[in-house]
């Protein structure tokens, strides 16, 4: 069995989703913590184009970009399938994974803004979360149906990271009244053992994002 190594960052939701997928498949791996502000030669060697985590290294071969890593994990370790067998359902799963990636920055813009700009950011985030809830999740327990799949893993950051984003930004966007289905999904996702046991420390994340927000606000003030 070729060696599996994951270069990750503890606070990165992109790293977390790879950890969840590997654990759901029962794949043993070595985790290497990378500091985004002090990138190692190992990282630069294995992801020369984007220079980012996560990177999966399997038998010496480098696989960057979390959505690509997830597809690779699914194909290489077919046990406990995380994508549907049906081609159409698979295409729908890929659609929502792509949508989530494209819109993540906008949904989290509340974190980088203040005042009027932040109010606009709340509106935009609300619209996008509504689309995800109504058209992505619908009446299902999980995006994957009765059990979790790659789409749940890809949206997992909404279940634990977003509440920290809201807290340090002093806003509430994803509330239970406005988003009853998403809220239920969050509670269900957090009960899945692999997810529950593999979340970053909440307080540590609050501290980390508080510092990041201070930097963003300072930059905003510089430009005014």
């Amino acid at each position: 069995m070729a060696e599996v190594k994951l270069l990750g960052f503890w606070a990165s939701p992109f790293s977390d989703r790879v950890i969840w997928a590997l654990k759901l498949k029962g794949v043993n791996y070595e985790y290497v913590e990378e500091d985004p502000h002090n990138k190692t030669q190992l990282l630069l060697q294995h992801n020369p184009v984007h220079k980012k985590v996560p990177v999966l290294i399997h038998g010496g071969k480098s696989i960057p970009e979390s959505s690509i890593i997830l597809e690779y994990i699914e194909e290489t370790w077919p046990q406990n399938p995380l994508l549907p067998q049906d081609a159409y359902q698979r295409a729908m799963a890929r659609f929502w994974i792509k949508f989530g990636e494209e819109k993540m920055a906008t949904i989290c813009a509340v974190f980088r803004t203040a005042g009027v700009e932040q109010e606009k950011a709340i509106e935009e985030a609300t619209k996008l979360l509504k689309i995800i809830e109504e058209q992505g999740l619908g009446d299902k327990m999980f995006f994957g149906g009765d059990g979790i799949g790659l789409v749940d893993i890809a949206f997992g950051w909404l279940a634990y990271l977003y509440e920290v984003v809201e807290k340090v930004s002093a806003v509430k966007v994803l509330d239970a009244d406005t988003f009853p289905q998403l809220h239920a999904w969050i509670q269900n996702l957090k009960e899945v053992p692999v997810i529950k046991e593999n979340l970053p420390d909440h307080q540590k994340l609050v501290g980390h994002l508080k510092r990041r927000r201070e930097i963003h606000l300072a930059l905003l003030n510089c430009h005014n």
């Binding site: 970009e65 690509i68 890929r94 058209q135």
Partner: protein, 220 residues
């Protein structure tokens, strides 16, 4: 399979639609096509089939809509496995998806910056665009196609975008052939394929569309 089971909501100059036309042709699959006027009012069918993005291409297979061109191409490969567009080995598939993702992020938006810019910004946009093509040249290497000997997924995602290069060249005052000769050779190789030639618009026609878009964006 009867033609009615596959309907493509299409647009001649859209390189994203071009990808789907080529993929379907490679698989020898017949389909109906409905031309959408993307600069005007969007049809009810388009709005109801793609409520999230409201864009072409949309492929309706037995009435079920598929959106986002790179996802549609993967679906076509899944639903009609022969000839394969993605490689068979998981690691080669990683390579194909990686460069497909790179192309999605860099090529069309990078080129758009050239015709949307004014003054000194054009030069900056042009340099970045050429850098992107050089990176693609690097990964192509001495291979005939991005996947190796056979025309496949990455080629299909990229070749339609090249129909917009003539417009970028005009506004950026450069020639892709001079800056990236290997890339140009690959383009010519793809254009020897009947499925590619039939599926793609003439660059001069795309240029006319870009002129219109520039007026709409207030660049003129």
């Amino acid at each position: 399979m009867s033609k009615q089971e596959l309907l493509l909501l299409d647009c001649g100059v859209s390189p994203f639609c071009g990808r789907v036309r080529i993929a379907l042709a490679e698989k020898g699959v017949e389909y109906e096509s409905k031309e959408e006027n993307v600069l005007g009012a969007k049809s009810e069918l388009l709005l109801s089939s793609n409520p999230v993005y409201k864009k072409v291409p949309v492929l309706l297979h037995n009435g079920k809509p598929l959106c986002e061109s790179s996802i549609i191409v993967q679906y076509i490969d899944d639903a009609w496995p022969s000839p394969p567009l993605l490689p068979t080995s998981p690691y080669e598939r990683v390579q194909a998806r990686f460069w497909g993702d790179f192309i999605e992020k860099k090529v069309f938006d990078g080129g758009s910056k050239i015709w949307k810019s004014k003054g000194e910004e054009i030069e900056v946009a042009k340099k970045e665009f050429i850098e992107t093509l050089k990176q693609l040249e690097g990964t192509l290497g001495d291979k005939d196609f991005f996947g190796g000997e056979n025309f496949g997924f990455v080629d299909i995602l990229l070749i339609p975008l090249t129909t917009w290069f003539y417009a970028y060249e005009k506004f950026g005052d450069f020639k892709v052939e001079e800056e990236c000769p290997k890339f140009s050779t690959w383009v010519k190789r793809c254009k020897q394929r009947e499925n590619v030639v039939k599926a793609l618009p003439e660059p001069e026609m795309v240029y006319e569309v870009v002129l219109m878009l520039r007026k709409m964006h207030g660049v003129e």
